[in-house]
């Protein structure tokens, strides 16, 4: 029984670490060639790094027909756009101060972030 309980507690610790504590790597935005794929409940890549004080273009392509994936929201920038299915949609990002800016679907189930530095 002790073993079972230990396993359970280890599992909980793993959940906390994996979902909340771990900081995944960002992908740097290149020469307009980065396309974020919206599919299967996630943005690929989910974390994008862009330079500070420069405008940038983010391209999204939605391959998931679920209506959940349709809306892309950048709450800090008051951007809210519908992503068409299987078509690239470009989102203009104005020059930003350094910091983290989240983007997500309407319900925050799809989540990603922009790291500006």
């Amino acid at each position: 029984m002790l073993l079972v309980n230990m396993t359970g507690i280890a599992l909980i610790a793993l959940i906390i670490w994996w979902f909340w504590l771990y900081q995944p790597k960002e992908v740097e935005i290149g020469n307009d060639d980065l396309v974020v794929i919206v599919e299967n409940g996630s943005y690929q890549p989910p974390r994008i790094r862009i330079p500070a004080d420069q405008s940038a273009k983010l391209q999204f392509i939605r391959k998931d027909p679920s209506p959940c994936a349709e809306t892309l929201v950048l709450p800090d920038l008051e951007i809210s756009e519908s992503l068409p299915l299987n078509k690239i949609k470009t989102i203009e990002i104005p020059p930003l101060a350094a910091g983290e800016y989240d983007f997500h679907c309407q319900m925050k189930m799809y989540r990603g972030s922009l790291k500006v530095e």
């Binding site: 029984m1 079972v4 309980n5 359970g8 599992l11 909980i12 959940i15 906390i16 994996w18 979902f19 909340w20 771990y22 995944p24 307009d32 599919e39 299967n40 409940g41 996630s42 943005y43 690929q44 989910p46 273009k57 391209q59 027909p65 679920s66 209506p67 959940c68 809306t71 929201v73 709450p75 008051e78 809210s80 756009e81 519908s82 068409p84 299915l85 690239i88 949609k89 470009t90 309407q106 319900m107 925050k108 189930m109 799809y110 989540r111």
Partner: protein
């Protein structure tokens, strides 16, 4: 390729040069035939060499190019064509196409979900019936093992065919260190299947009593959740009905005059300055200015104003409105994404996707929701294993699975956006444009509403109603002098006097030494005579005796007229009374606002007596008179200091500071020429009923959001512990994972359906929201 016929036309020259102060206009062109990234430089170069173009930036992914500068569309298209590509202006028509595409995609997705559901339930339902009424879902003999193994493999087939999207989604987000609804479904159904397979293949690992099979749960849950998603997709389609209706207003073709002939062309090919013909019964294709003909236009789709509006040469037309009576020719002034209709659509879309602060808590919870549920599932399994009765392992598996399945982050996440979507759309149908979710929420909580008098309660077009002569000057002479003095002013009262002079055919003379004193009046010299025109304050200050005429001044004011005193060379010579009639429905609309519990306050620069008379007629008991324009914002602040949440309604231009100071600023306009986006809420209709509608719609929406959030919270807060088995020690009940699957599938459907109830909301006089 359908390219527009290129020609130059006379109106073009004025677009090539412009002042430096105003921001350069920009237009967006759709580029055709650009197949490689190297085309970009070529196209941009071609556009930049067009005179007047300041910058040209191409978005290769979208195949669009944004050009700033004052060059006409025809020249730009010509330049792109010279470079070897095709171009056309972007229009709302492409929007409609993409809407159709989207609906098609939705229909295909719906069919797929229903098929998924059918397959999964076809496997799950017979198993469930067997387990409930016929046999035991356990493994005892080796024949049973083989039979269950076959069922397990079939269930795996269901998982792959009908549930693949849950598992791939769960895996992808797991790899991204995030979790969503897919994670919960995949874990729940996966656990049930995996445990059952262990029971079938390695029964020795499981205690006798716990050798229970849950394949039916896996198949049923997958089927039910697919059904829920399909029904939700259907219901969601309805939430965007308002925006679809707006997009549908845009006609697909326009009849334009080119080289002396009328030709039908695609709406996207209409250029600025094109001459367009609209016949009775047709929709106006782009924004423009009437050149020839008279007609009545139905603008109700944009403004909510039911009465058709008369149009004559010089008047503005808006895309999407319907020409009722006459055939007119007009010059296109705004095309593509620049038309009022296109901007309304863009604003409504943006507002529909924005979130009021009330939704933020739900957002914060959503972010932590799924991992928390996973932890609760583990804890619940541990509790059963440690303290549960036999078969503890089976109970642990059932409770963990049920917790994972019943938790529904979707209902929580959908609660706010769905209602905002329907509410903002509904408001737009009534001619009320709400800028964002925050404005919507604040509007619902307002406790006081300040109304500017001129143009808000009244029509805003004052007329001279009478002239009281106090010297031997003739009436025409008085009007002529006053109009000359006022000739430089754009004050509404000045315009009234100028209008009268024009009607009477009076000559306007030059004015010298003009000086205006805010809140008092003006002075100047006309034909060698020194004139003073203004209120009693001005006369008092200049020591001009008017005491003997106080009675006439007071009488005019009590009739809701504004008396203006005219002194010639230091002698009071006449009183000119100007009246601005109250809008027909102001009284009823103000009653509606008061009925909603709002403290209604009127602001005006007029004298006290006139203000009192107007307030009486409009049913307002509280007002501030003689308020200088720059002090309006201060009055807003004053009310805020008293603890009121203040809405301010005014014309959006003169009242801009007060609108900005208010908790919610309402810009009231007449027709589509109102400055869209100039305030938190734009009322396209001149009637104050639009304001009452805005308040009613925002309250109904907030009420709906609260119902949704409450429902979703309660559902999760009650459902998860029940699933974990808190009722078991007392009542001996443990929820079945299948019931949990059904509950979860229908919880988000309930939220969307409740939001759809807002569609029943009726704007218009004397009606109340029902949601």
């Amino acid at each position: 390729m359908n390219r527009p016929h290129i020609h130059t036309h006379s109106g073009q020259a004025q677009h090539c040069h412009e002042g430096n102060d105003t921001p350069a206009p920009s237009q967006t062109l759709r580029i055709e035939g650009a197949s490689c990234a190297s085309c970009v430089a070529k196209i941009e170069h071609a556009l930049k060499s067009v005179p007047g173009v300041q910058s040209a930036e191409m978005n290769f992914a979208d195949r669009t190019v944004t050009v700033t500068g004052g060059a006409s569309g025809a020249l730009l298209i010509h330049a792109v064509e010279e470079a070897g590509y095709g171009a056309r202006t972007l229009s709302g028509a492409s929007e409609e196409d993409s809407l159709e595409e989207r609906e098609q995609a939705d229909r295909a997705y719906y069919r797929r979900l229903m098929l998924n559901m059918g397959i999964a339930l076809a496997v799950g339902a017979p198993l469930m019936v067997y387990g409930l009424f016929i046999g035991e879902m356990t493994v005892t003999t080796s024949a049973e093992r083989v039979a269950w193994l076959v069922v397990g493999v079939v269930t795996f087939g269901v998982m792959v065919f009908s549930g693949k999207h849950f598992y791939t989604g769960a895996w992808q987000s797991l790899m991204n260190h995030s979790a969503n609804m897919d994670t919960l479904i995949a874990l729940g159904t996966g656990t049930a299947w995996f445990y059952s397979m262990v029971v079938v293949l390695l029964p020795s690992l499981v205690p006798d009593m716990a050798r229970h099979i849950y394949f039916e749960a896996t198949a049923m849950i997958i089927g039910l959740i697919n059904l829920g998603l399909a029904l939700e997709l259907r219901a969601r389609g309805k939430t965007s009905a308002a925006i679809k209706r707006l997009i549908g207003l845009q006609p697909r073709t326009a009849r334009i005059l080119r080289d002396g002939e009328e030709v039908d062309i695609a709406i996207g090919d209409v250029l600025m300055d094109d001459i367009v013909r609209v016949r009775p019964g047709e929709k106006v294709p782009v924004d423009g200015e009437v050149l020839e003909g008279h007609t009545a236009i139905d603008e109700s789709m944009l403004t909510g104003e039911p009465m058709p509006v008369e149009k004559a040469p010089g008047d503005a037309l808006s895309a999407g409105t319907i020409n009722k009576t006459g055939s007119v020719l007009f010059r296109a002034t705004r095309v593509g994404s620049e038309t009022a209709l296109a901007r309304i659509i863009a604003m409504v879309k943006r507002a529909q996707n924005s979130k009021p602060p009330i939704g933020r808590l739900a957002d914060t919870i959503s972010a932590y929701f799924v991992p928390t549920v996973m932890i609760i599932a583990v804890l619940s399994a541990l509790a059963w294993l440690n303290f549960g009765p036999e078969p503890a392992l089976a109970f642990a598996i059932v409770s963990a699975t049920t917790v994972l399945i019943i938790a529904c982050p979707c209902a929580l996440g959908l609660a706010t956006p769905m209602s905002v979507m329907v509410g903002v759309g509904k408001a737009a149908e009534a001619g009320v444009l709400i800028r964002n979710g925050e404005a919507l929420q604040t509007a619902s909580k307002l406790t006081a509403m300040i109304l500017d008098k001129t143009g808000t309660i009244t029509l805003g077009s004052p007329k001279v109603t009478e002239v009281v002569l106090l010297s031997d000057q003739s009436e025409d002479e008085v009007i002529r002098l006053a109009a000359s003095l006022e000739s430089g002013s754009e004050h509404p009262l000045a315009l009234a006097i100028q209008e009268t002079a024009k009607e009477r055919g009076l000559q306007i003379d030059k004015v010298g030494g003009f000086k205006a004193t805010t809140g008092q009046g003006i002075e100047g010299n006309v034909l060698g005579r020194h004139l003073l025109l203004g209120n009693e304050k001005l006369m008092k200050e200049r020591n001009i005796g008017f005491q003997q005429h106080l009675e006439s001044v007071g009488k005019l004011a009590r009739e809701a007229k504004t008396p203006m005193l005219l002194a010639i060379d230091g002698e009071l010579s006449a009183i000119i009374a100007v009246a601005d009639p109250i809008k027909e429905d102001s009284l009823a609309a103000i009653h509606r606002l008061q009925g909603d519990g709002l403290r209604v306050v009127m602001l005006t620069g007029d004298n006290r007596a006139t203000a009192q008379a107007v307030a009486d007629r409009a049913g307002i008991s509280e007002f501030y008179a003689e308020v200088l324009p720059e002090d309006k914002a201060e009055k807003v602040a004053e009310l805020q200091m008293q603890g009121e949440l203040v809405g301010m309604t005014g014309d959006g231009i003169n009242d801009a500071p007060a609108l900005a100071m208010a908790n919610v600023g309402f810009a009231i306009g007449t027709g589509t020429d109102v400055a869209i986006e100039s305030a938190d809420v734009t009322l396209m209709r001149g009637s104050l009923h639009g304001l009452a509608d805005a308040i009613a719609v925002s309250r109904a929406t907030l009420r709906n959001i609260k119902q949704n959030l409450f429902g979703a919270f309660i559902y999760n807060v009650a459902g998860i512990p029940i699933a974990a088995g808190v009722l078991y020690p007392v009542f001996g009940v443990l929820l079945s994972p299948i019931i949990a699957g059904a509950a979860m599938a229908f919880s988000s459907l309930t939220v969307v359906s409740n939001a759809n109830r807002l569609r029943l909301f009726k704007a218009q006089e004397n009606s109340r929201g029902q949601a």
